[in-house]
């Protein structure tokens, strides 16, 4: 049976899991790590780097390394978040042809969905290597606040990566699933998610198999990287005091600082003190390289990052207030994200909520595990862990005064159909504009516009006399249809709203094919390189022996013939290298080996003779 993998596509790190024999397990990557950086880079030689290797050069190749693209996926170019991000991102972002966001790397333009696809593809490959079989289906998680456009973009990314994303689920929901919540349980839980790049706090109400997100808030620019930056600044300042050199000016030094800062931060979750040692960190002009050596204690780290932790607690407070939920109503707190391993974070969370957080599942794996559980449940129809698909946000229209009237409430299970009768607001109004909106704000302008249309031909009458029935219908496939009908005349107008990621179907198909071709090319290039190197080695040896062998055996007609044949073998091998012909190279390799053996034999016989 096909396996379904669960993928936590994180802002900083991604994780993939699968259910094996009823147990969800996280799949480690080639390096043995259970998380993979969500980074993509294009190296100077044009090679695409994904994951750990991209992270290892993120500073030295900053302009061509994409990170935190999750903050941009599915957003419009005009979005304030995009504007804010473009101010501090080292890589170049530009407006796409559909008002979406594109990224420029070494003069190539990529959509955000494509970049995410490269990461998803990496997770797919990790899973396939582990399972030993092709993987086609996946459940991918997204933040609870993601709108339809962002969710659709994530699905498109999966498709470009060769995955059929059979379900998109919310990250806090996945975390709760991993802890076994949902089985005949009715609870209010808090999901405290402090990851590498973002902080999210969600309050979930679980009941009857439905995971309702009561409230969600956070800071998309607060995460583990900010903690790393504090350590880097501390190291740099200390070094500058001693040596009057700013290490930030050197990209190599900065890269090493970043790597070691993150490592030290992680170490300090387990030990009270760690030594940071960066030998030969920078060269001076006087024939020496300087070293950096510092001791960092846990207390020092806590002092450096206290305000960051407090900010998360403040956001938790605000979220509870807005949701009208008391701390005492929270029955469980689930920690998500690697940063929650920090003892100080755990301490403050426990202090704030007044209860110890759930432990037992690694916080950087819990979301992927929940996604894998959901994936397995989707394959097993009898499984009672199946989540009902719900609308993540409320849907409605704008009414007089600029207010938002909800027709379908948030977390309504789909398919669903809801309608409401509206009336005209002016005397002799002959047309009405229907603005279809999605969101939670009571003000229409603060919600997202999904589409609009106009219903004309209304009877001239005093305001309030004409009745218009507006109906919202969401099918099982998630497509929303909105119909407005004049109840008196029967005239109707409608639109179909499909979430768009900013990519057309043709573009997605092209990207899928390009990605497939790229994979094939990478594999064949690796194979060619392997053959080329072994062939070059043989050629060097043979060409080195040629003069000697020619002298020894060229005197006889047999010898001349052998030398001629050997030359033609060499030429054929060189031609195969130039043509990048793997098959010809393999054949040449055998001929070259025989030629070399013959040459060596001739030379050694002469020595003995």
């Amino acid at each position: 049976m096909d396996k379904v993998i669960g993928i936590d596509l994180g802002t900083t790190n991604s994780c993939v899991a699968v259910v094996e024999d009823g147990t969800p397990v996280v799949i480690p990557n080639r390096g043995g790590y259970k998380t993979t950086p969500s980074m993509v880079a294009i190296a100077e030689n044009g090679k695409r780097l994904v994951g750990h290797i991209a992270k290892r050069q993120a500073i030295t190749n900053a302009e061509n390394t994409v990170y935190a693209h999750k903050r941009l996926i599915g957003r419009k170019w005009s979005s304030p978040i995009v504007k804010s991000a473009s101010d501090h991102l080292p890589y170049q972002i530009v407006e796409g042809p559909h008002g979406d966001v594109r990224i420029v790397l070494r003069e190539q333009v990529f959509s955000i969905a494509e970049i995410s696809a490269f990461v998803l593809q990496e997770m797919k490959l990790i899973a396939e290597e582990y399972l030993g079989e092709e993987v086609q289906k996946a459940v991918v998680t997204v933040p609870a606040y993601f709108n339809d456009g962002q969710r659709q973009a994530t699905k498109d990314a999966g498709r470009i990566a060769g995955l059929d994303v059979i379900r998109i689920i919310n990250e806090p929901t996945a975390a709760a699933l991993a802890y076994g919540f949902g089985r005949n349980i009715e609870r209010k839980v808090a999901i405290y998610d402090l990851g590498g790049g973002t902080f999210d706090i969600s309050i979930l109400e679980i009941g009857n198999g439905v995971f309702e997100v009561i409230s969600t808030a956070g800071d998309t620019f607060l995460g583990g990287e900010d903690f790393d930056k504090r350590i880097i600044d501390w190291l740099v300042q200390s070094f500058q005091r001693e040596n009057n050199i700013d290490l930030r000016r050197d990209k190599m030094a900065l890269q090493r600082l970043k790597d070691v800062a993150e490592k030290a931060k992680c170490e300090l979750s387990a030990v009270r003190e760690t030594e940071i040692h960066l030998p030969f960190i920078i060269s001076t002009g006087k024939n020496e390289a300087l070293h950096l050596q510092q001791q960092l204690a846990r207390e020092q780290l806590e002092s450096l990052t206290a305000d960051l932790v407090e900010r998360t607690i403040q956001i938790c407070q605000k979220t509870l207030e807005e949701a009208g939920v008391e701390k005492s109503e929270i029955e469980d707190v689930i920690l998500v994200g690697g940063m929650t391993r920090m003892p100080k974070v755990q301490e403050r969370v426990a202090e704030f909520f007044g209860i110890e957080p759930c432990r037992g599942v690694h916080p950087d794996e819990v979301v992927a595990l929940g996604a894998a559980i959901q994936g397995a449940a989707l394959l097993d129809e009898k499984n009672d862990m199946l989540l009902l698909d719900v609308t993540p946000h409320s849907l409605g229209i704008m009414i007089v005064g600029g207010y938002f009237h909800r027709l379908i409430e948030q977390n309504t299970t789909v398919p669903t159909s809801k309608g409401h009768v509206f009336t005209t607001v002016k005397d002799n109004q002959t047309s009405v504009k229907i603005l279809v909106l999605q969101g939670e704000s009571d003000r229409a302008e603060e919600n997202e516009l999904l589409g609009e249309f106009i219903l004309t031909g209304l009877r001239r009458a005093p305001k309030g006399e004409v009745e218009i029935d507006v109906n919202f219908e969401i099918g099982a496939d998630g497509i929303l249809s909105v119909t407005a009908k004049d109840l008196e005349t029967g005239l109707a107008q409608s639109i179909t709203v499909t979430a768009t990621s900013g990519l057309t179907e043709d573009e997605i198909r092209r990207m899928v094919e390009e990605n497939r071709d790229y994979l094939v090319e990478v594999r064949s290039s690796q194979e060619f390189e392997r053959h080329r190197q072994s062939t070059e080695k043989l050629l060097t040896e043979i060409e080195g022996l040629f003069p000697k062998v020619s002298d020894i055996i060229a005197g006889s007609s047999f010898g001349q013939d052998a030398v001629t044949k050997a030359r033609s073998v060499v030429e054929r091998a060189r031609a195969a290298i130039a043509a990048r012909d793997v098959k010809a190279l393999t054949e040449s390799g055998e001929a070259l080996s025989r030629t070399l053996n013959m040459f060596k034999g001739v030379v050694s016989k002469t020595r003995l003779g």
Partner: protein, 503 residues
Amino acid sequence: MAAGPDSVKSRVTKLVARGLERYGAGQLEAALSEWEHALALEPEHVQAGQYVKYVRENFSGLEAAFKAAREAAEAAQRAGVPLGDAPVRSRGDDYAEIEVSRAGDSGVVGLPRPPGVAEEPGLDTGWDLEQVAPLPPPPEAAAGHGGPGPGPETGTFAGPAPATGGDLEGFPLAELGSIPTGARALPPLARRTPAAPMAAATRAPAGAAGAAAQQRAAALTAQPAQAPAPPGRPHRFGTGPDFADSATGESTLYRLRDHDLALLPEEGSGVGPLPGALPMDDGPPEHTGTGERTSTRHFAGGVPARYPGSLEASERDQPSVEIDPGLLPGPPGLELGALGLGELLEVAEGRAALPDDDGVTGVRPGPVAAADELRERAQVEGVISIARQALQQGDTSSALDHAEIALRAAGDGALGAATLQRHKELLSAIFEAFIGPTSQVPAICVPVHQLGAGDLDHRAAFLLSRIDGALTIEEILDIAGMPRFDALRLLAQLVRKGYLEVR
């Protein structure tokens, strides 16, 4: 008294043993001289023949290895670190992002042992532990201690100035990065300076003749005074005794003629004329100051047909390396045409005019600077040529060593840029051939705390920091943060020094 067969045998044995002594002390020329003397007395002597063959075939690598050992010993002595292996600290002792991937390996670079060398009691074979290259002292505890103060950040590292001496100076085995032009003495074109080998071959007869011979020997063994470069002159390639100092007119080469006298067989010994060939690559013809030319001797190709004496013009003009004059960027107005190395250097040194058919006659303006520049270029090209030959013969170590010599000689200026432009592909191939397939995974062999203060520059350290036991060489090149050529070169140097191994 006639020398009987037994006494010849005994002499040969002693010559072979003395050759081993010299070899152990790093005096390769002297060792060769002893063994060839033995061969002169007994041409069929198997051991002597093997030793001569081995040293000749591996001369550059051996010389470099001995030099590295010497420098390491000197550095250790200066730092007060006792020689010998230092204990390897466990990985938990320090938190460093450059980690040892193989515990227990102290990364000692040993000296090569000639084939078939047996340890004879009482005979100093040169393999004592004291002579094994010790590890450099651990780095300073905090940054900025000791050493020269900070200067402009060039991103390159030039190691400490080498000890001057008769051997191949400035050989960069222990250093990484580029050396600015003029920073140090560089070896002459494939030339081995003789140090003081000839004294070993000279046995002082008794009496007045003996005193005269001793004086002669003393004159031979005394290190020649090196004339300082005249002020205002550009950096000279090889300020050691590789070619005549035109300012003083003195040759600092040993006098072959005197040595030949010492090599003459004893009367009545029944031994034929000595072949007399001692290994030496062609270099520029030199003046002894007496108006007489001495011959240079050849490494390969056996012995010259005639006894060393006056140099024939045809022999002088035969370059030992081919130089494509089209590769040499001549100064404006100077067409080099198809000149051999010998002719090129004669023009460079103002001892000959350009052939008329080149359309240029006489010496161009600024002969001194132009001559030095031409000489440097010629020598760099020559060394590159040797590197190419070594690569073709599969001797990647020698190819790498010569490539490094050429690059350092070329420096960072115009000559360096031209050299790189012409030979980048070849040099890259040399580095790659030395490192091995780039699909392999490198591992660090030396504990960080055992690296000396001058062992790495920050670029090499950055490369080491990218090694995690999973990334291949190719992947490390992808994320090196520097041009591929530079990264390949640094990696090759790290492997050469024994800091890295490739699996």
